[in-house]
Structures are given as structure tokens and as C-alpha cells.
């Protein structure tokens, strides 16, 4: 029994933290967030050299062959500094191909996703944002060479910079008539449009498909995968966002605790007053609980896959609620300065709204927890 990180994992954490502190502290984050692309190509190239892009991919495809627990270490740190990059999206797209793809598909896509020359993302959701295989309505028409796909996918992370999309589609009305297609940005009939959002460190967009030809070898696993594969990807996404959320909450706690020490009112640092102290203690408790739930869920994903869905639902539910509360407390405890554009708290509360919603908010995941818990 050892519910802690190994020495190597602690070293990885130090490495990521130092890299991000040196190369992408909050002023740089602001600069990247103000750019059109929303990420920095130079830093992206370095991530690939450091092995973070293919962290969980097998070594034969240019990955590092590590586990989800290791990935959580990196994502906590990218969350802490609000690091803007398509790391999460690319990791999830690569995961989909790694888990469900044919050897040919893996050989074709994974090395370029691992070395950063290709940016990938998931495109699962349709008109509605309801996260369920049932809600996937985009229906493929069978054609001579496979399928034809038309329609729009919404809430596609990093849509405008992605080179490849893993698109969920329906082939019939039954629950399991679902498949995943690999669609390249350059395929005929593919276009993307950015969706405006408050958090400029996370970019989202719409993927538009106009009679796009899906060849048989672009269908993941060649045969349709059914609803379960979609659920697996939603779970992976929920866990990845939860891991980043830990860092976001820690960023909020650090910023606000420091302010509570520095800011003096009524002759004393405001952190002396219980009206300030107690909400900060609550954020800390929530962070510790989220860590426990996320670490366990990551471990389950690696070692006890049957336990993973329930563990991930708990982790994301708790993370969503915590980050939402921490964002609000963070601004409120700062007072007026927290409501300004110039002060960094605004970056964190904007991220908190994104983190809460993406891959399911607390209501969505608590409903799953209730179901898994026999209710």
C-alpha cells in the first residue's frame, strides 16, 4: 500500500514546474492568450522534446510509455500556471487512437502526435452539450468507400489549430450504432470556426463537415465501437480536466493566501480575520480531497479499469464544484482588485468556469455517482 508519488514522479513534477516557471509564467500566459493561435509554437516544440506529448503512448510509437498517474503530475502543473497549449486535446486524441485504432492507424498517427508535428483533438459533441452517447446525432450515410458525414461538432477544444479530429458519429438509431472517425483538417469539406469564450487560455471551436468522405481505414478499429468507447473517452477527458483543475485551485489558493498576508486593513493583515481565513481553509480542504480522488481515479484507470468510471465521476464532480467555489472565493476575498483585468485573479476565475463545465459539471457527474452507487 503506497498512496503517494514515486521519486521519479516527484522529479517529473519538479521538472515541469521549473520549465513552466521559467518559460511560461503569467505574463507570458497573457501574451499567448492574446495571440491568434492561442499557443506558442516554440514552447510546443520543447514539450515534445521533453516527452510530455507522448507521455502515455507506447515507446514503439515515439511515446514514453508512462501511466495516467504520471500524466496527472504534468497536468496539475499546467493547470497551476494556466499554461495555454493543445496538450490536453492532443493527448486525448492520441489516447483514442492508441486504445481503439488498428496497428496501421497507430503507426500512421501516433508518432506525429507524440512529436508535436500534429495537433489532435476530440470532436464528440453535437448541437447539444449533453455528454452522452445518446446525444450524438450526427449520422453517417453509407457510401461505396465507407461513410459520408455532414453536420457540426461543437465544443471542440483547440479546433482552429488541430490537424486531426476524432469525430463521433452515428450509423443508426440504436444506442450502440456509434463510431469514431479520424478526420484530417485538410480533408475535403472540413472547416473550423472559433467559438468566442472568456477563457482565452483554452480555445474552443466548431468543426463543420460538409459531405466529408470517411474511408473505411479512417474508422477507428475498422468496425463500429459502440457507446462504450465514447464513454471511455469522456472519462479520459474528465480525468484530464480534473487533474488540471487541482493546479488551478492551487493557483487560486496561492495567489489569495499571499494577498491575505500582504494586504493590511484595520491595522492587520486581512488573513488574520476568520472571515478570510476560513474560506481559504475550505479551498485547501477541497484541494486535498480533489487530489485524493483524482490520484485514485488515475491509478484505477491504469490498474483497475472496472473501478475507473465511478472513481472518475467522483473526481470530476468534486473538482468541478471545488474549482467553481474557489474561483468565486478568490475574487471575493481580494475585493475590488480581484475584479480588475490587470490583476491575475481574473485569469483563474475564467479558467474555473471552463474547468467546471468541460467534460461534465458536478451535476452531471453526481448523477453518475448516484447511479454507480446503486441509487
Amino acid at each position: 500500500m503506497d498512496f503517494g508519488f514515486s521519486e521519479e514522479q516527484e522529479m517529473l513534477r519538479d521538472q515541469v514546474r521549473k520549465f513552466l516557471e521559467d518559460r511560461c509564467s503569467l505574463p507570458q500566459v497573457r501574451a499567448i492568450a492574446a495571440s491568434n493561435e492561442g499557443y506558442c509554437r516554440d514552447l510546443w516544440g520543447q514539450l515534445s522534446k521533453l516527452g510530455w506529448l507522448g507521455l502515455t503512448l507506447p515507446e514503439e510509437f515515439g511515446g514514453v510509455g508512462l501511466s495516467w498517474v504520471d500524466l496527472v503530475v504534468i497536468l496539475e502543473e499546467t493547470g497551476r500556471t494556466l499554461f495555454p497549449s493543445p496538450l490536453l486535446s492532443t493527448t486525448l486524441a492520441a489516447t483514442a487512437i492508441n486504445e481503439f485504432g488498428t496497428p496501421q492507424q497507430q503507426q500512421h498517427w501516433l508518432p506525429s502526435l507524440a512529436n508535436g508535428s500534429c495537433i489532435g483533438t476530440l470532436a464528440l459533441l453535437d448541437e447539444t452539450d449533453f455528454l452522452s452517447p445518446k446525444a450524438i446525432q450526427m449520422t453517417a450515410k453509407a457510401s461505396e468507400r465507407g461513410y459520408l458525414l455532414s453536420g457540426e461538432k461543437r465544443f471542440v477544444q483547440d479546433a482552429t489549430v488541430a490537424d486531426v479530429f476524432i469525430v463521433a458519429f452515428r450509423s443508426g438509431p440504436a444506442n450502440d450504432d456509434l463510431g469514431l472517425a479520424i478526420i484530417s483538417r485538410h480533408d475535403k469539406g472540413v472547416s473550423v470556426e472559433e467559438t468566442e469564450g472568456w477563457d482565452r487560455t483554452k480555445r474552443t471551436g466548431v468543426l463543420k463537415l460538409d459531405t466529408v468522405q470517411i474511408a473505411a481505414d479512417a474508422i477507428l478499429s475498422e468496425t463500429l465501437l459502440g457507446a462504450q468507447a465514447i464513454e471511455v473517452l469522456i472519462d479520459r477527458g474528465a480525468l484530464a480536466v480534473s487533474a488540471e483543475t487541482i493546479g488551478v485551485c492551487e493557483g487560486i489558493l496561492n495567489l489569495t493566501s499571499q494577498y491575505a498576508l500582504d494586504r493590511k486593513q484595520f491595522g492587520s493583515p486581512i488573513g488574520r480575520y476568520q472571515g478570510v481565513k476560513h474560506p481559504l481553509a475550505e479551498i485547501y480542504v477541497d484541494i486535498e480531497c480533489t487530489k485524493s480522488l483524482v490520484y485514485y481515479a488515475a491509478w484505477a484507470l491504469d490498474g483497475e479499469p472496472n473501478e475507473a468510471p465511478a472513481a472518475i465521476a467522483k473526481a470530476k464532480a468534486y473538482a468541478s464544484q471545488s474549482v467553481c467555489d474557489a474561483g468565486v472565493s478568490g475574487v471575493q476575498l481580494h475585493g475590488a482588485i480581484g475584479y480588475t483585468d490587470e490583476y491575475d485573479m481574473q485569469l483563474f476565475i475564467k479558467r474555473s468556469k471552463w474547468s467546471r463545465a468541460t467534460y461534465g459539471d458536478e451535476d452531471f457527474h453526481y448523477d453518475r455517482v448516484a447511479k454507480f452507487g446503486g441509487l
Binding site: 476568520q274 480542504v285 452507487g373 441509487l375
Partner: protein, 377 residues
């Protein structure tokens, strides 16, 4: 990171399960003498004082074995290990660490054989959360201390044989923590008077204890004079991860789910109500977090770290669970909530657990000051 237990640990768990299967009757079949007989059997297994070193008569159980033992017991709805909770949690570990040979000889055998019953004197009428300011005076007079003053909220003082008493031996030191000492004495020492205090549910569990010219020899002191704060703080060296507490909360949630299953809300099954489902899911998630926090703390302890304010986190979580869980139960009962029954009783009684050992706001202070480094109030 792994959640695997070693073969030895698994064998120990199997042994505990087997012991429970053979010796523990179902809760409704436990007679009047059950606890006494049960404790004798536990003592034979060396599971009373299981965490204490073997050379002091303890079971020498590792941190993980302690967790396994407590978890299995909690799972099987067994009573706490040993009836003398105060003696086992506070007195035993403090004796082992600070006791003289004579003190150990006097008190350890009874503790290990379930013959002891201790109460602990901490709070005073004017001193609760701010324990460092305690005021019960013990004045040195030759080879004796003469004690005058009072303790309050002293659980079991009316039945305990002995008291673990915190006193102020020196009121004039710079740091108020430095003038405190710990004394061990029989409750039948002349000059000790116990006044019962009836609690919110009509039970007599705690008391006020008055000390009028109580004279005890200096040899009753545990640890050095003025070092009592250290004795109190160092006493909790045993497993404090809170894992078994979360097992207890899981059973509590099972009961709440069963209540929800059999309740109606607005004429429809309560479990069709989204809000009720989400509340139950929140409790379940928080209990999981508590349990996993426990495993993270345990891992830190095994790797040699001293427990810090981590224990405050689970203590606080317990409060954040007990209060809304009781609230949900009362809501499910509808008009019956104003009547008598198990849930109604619990809705008053849980306050004892949540306040005892430091209220939630005190835990928030501890976390903010010790972990976040915010200034003391």
C-alpha cells in the same frame, strides 16, 4: 502508487475476518455481558493496545495492520476496540513515552486487560478551544501538589477510576504552554467532586469536576514539570489516518440510502428526486475523499512524516458530512421529524462528535494557521 497489501497483511486481514466470524454476534444479538466478554477475547489477541510496542505489552501492530484491524471491526459494526477509549487513545501512548517505571507498572496491565477506565481533564469553564490557557492550579507543597479549580465536559468522570489531568504548575512563565503539567490520579482522591451534566439528548455522558484542596504526591506527574503540553501533543503517536472513521461513515450512508429508498417526497419515491440523489452522491464522494485522504496520510506516516494538520482535514470533513446527512434524513422523515426515533436522536447527538476534540471552525483555524501560514487571531 499501489493499493496492494502484502501477503502478510492479507493474512492478517483474513485472521481478523475469521475472528469476527467466530466471535462477533450480530448487533441485535449482543447481550448485556457481550462487551466484557468481547474485550477479554480482544485482549487475548493483543488487539487492545495493538499499536503499542511489544516490550510494553502491546501488540506491536504496524500502521497498516492497525488500519486493517480497525477497518474490519468498523465494517462488522463491532464496538470500539476496548471500552476504555480515553485510556487507550491518550493515557497508554503517553505512559509509554513519558511514564516512570512505577507509573507503567501501576497502570499498563489494567489498560491492556480492559480493567482500566480513564477520563481526561482538558477543558475548563473558561477554557475550551484555547486549551493552552488552562488554569486549574496545582501548587507545589513539599512532595505534594495541591490542586484547586475545575474541569468541565469531562466525559465518563462519573464512572472512571482514574483521571489524566492537565494542570497549571507555573503561572509565571513567558509562554503559557510551558507552565502546564500532566498528573495521573484516582478519581476517589479526597477533594474531587463530580457534578453530572445532562446532554442534549438527555444522556449523562459528561460532567463538571471540582477540585478542592486535592493533595497528590509529585510522583503522580507524567513527564517533566511544565512539559505537559508536549505530553498531550505527543500522546497521539498512533495511527490517526481516519480510514476506519470513513468506514463508519460509509455504514452511516448505507442507512441513509435505505431511508431514502423507503421514503416519499411530494407523493413520489424520494429517489426520483434529483436533488436528493445528488445530495446522496455528494456524501458518497466526500466519504471516498475522506478515506483516500486517510490512505495518503498513512503513506506519509509510513514514510516517516509526523502527522500535521492533515488530521484536521478529515475531522472537518466529518463535520461537513454529519451535519447535512442528519439534515437530509430529517427532511426525508417529513412531519415525523418532530417525533422520536433513531434519526431524530442522531440529528441532535452528532453534535457531540463534531464539536468534541475541536469544533469545525477551530479545525479551519488550525489549517489556515499551520498549513497556509496565516497569522494567528
Amino acid at each position: 502508487m499501489n493499493f496492494d497489501f502484502t501477503e502478510k497483511e492479507e493474512a492478517f486481514r483474513a485472521k481478523v475476518k475469521q475472528f469476527i466470524a467466530v466471535n462477533l454476534p450480530a448487533p441485535e444479538q449482543r447481550g448485556k455481558d457481550f462487551e466484557k466478554q468481547w474485550n477479554v477475547k480482544l485482549a487475548e489477541q493483543k488487539w487492545i493496545g495493538f499499536s503499542w510496542p511489544k516490550e510494553h505489552g502491546g501488540g506491536g501492530g504496524s500502521l497498516i495492520e492497525q488500519v486493517i484491524l480497525k477497518e474490519e471491526m468498523s465494517q462488522a459494526l463491532a464496538p470500539d476496540l476496548g471500552s476504555d477509549l480515553m485510556g487507550l487513545v491518550w493515557v497508554g501512548p503517553a505512559l509509554i513515552r513519558y511514564g516512570t517505571e512505577a507509573q507503567k507498572k501501576e497502570f499498563m496491565p489494567d489498560l491492556l486487560n480492559c480493567q482500566s477506565s480513564w477520563c481526561t481533564g482538558y477543558s475548563e469553564p473558561d477554557v475550551g478551544s484555547d486549551l493552552g490557557s488552562l488554569n486549574l492550579r496545582a501548587v507545589r507543597d513539599g512532595d505534594d501538589y495541591v490542586i484547586n479549580g475545575s474541569k468541565i465536559w469531562t466525559t465518563k468522570a462519573h464512572v472512571a477510576k482514574n483521571i489524566f489531568l492537565t494542570v497549571r504548575t507555573n503561572p509565571e512563565v513567558e509562554s503559557r504552554y510551558r507552565g502546564i503539567s500532566v498528573l495521573l490520579m484516582p478519581m476517589n482522591t479526597p477533594g474531587i467532586q463530580v457534578r453530572p451534566i445532562v446532554n442534549i439528548v438527555g444522556d449523562h455522558s459528561f460532567n463538571q469536576v471540582f477540585f478542592t484542596d486535592v493533595r497528590v504526591p509529585v510522583s503522580t506527574r507524567l513527564g517533566a514539570e511544565g512539559e505537559g503540553w508536549k505530553v498531550v501533543m505527543g500522546a497521539l503517536a498512533n495511527e490517526r489516518s481516519g480510514i476506519s472513521e470513513s468506514t463508519g461513515m460509509e455504514r452511516h450512508l448505507d442507512k441513509l440510502k435505505a431511508l431514502a429508498r423507503n421514503s416519499l417526497k411530494g407523493g413520489k419515491p424520494a429517489l426520483e428526486d434529483t436533488e436528493i440523489r445528488r445530495k446522496l452522491a455528494r456524501f458518497e464522494t466526500r466519504i471516498s475523499a475522506m478515506r483516500l485522504n486517510g490512505f495518503r496520510n498513512l503513506t506519509k506516516q509510513i514514510k516517516g512524516a509526523q502527522p500535521g494538520s492533515e488530521t484536521s482535514i478529515n475531522k472537518l470533513l466529518r463535520g461537513m458530512l454529519e451535519i447535512p446527512m442528519a439534515d437530509l434524513a430529517m427532511g426525508l422523515l417529513g412531519n415525523s421529524a418532530s417525533g422520536m426515533g433513531e434519526w431524530q436522536y442522531d440529528s441532535f447527538n452528532f453534535h457531540g462528535v463534531v464539536i468534541g476534540g475541536g469544533s469545525p471552525n477551530i479545525q479551519r483555524n488550525i489549517i489556515a494557521e499551520r498549513t497556509l501560514g496565516l497569522p494567528k487571531d
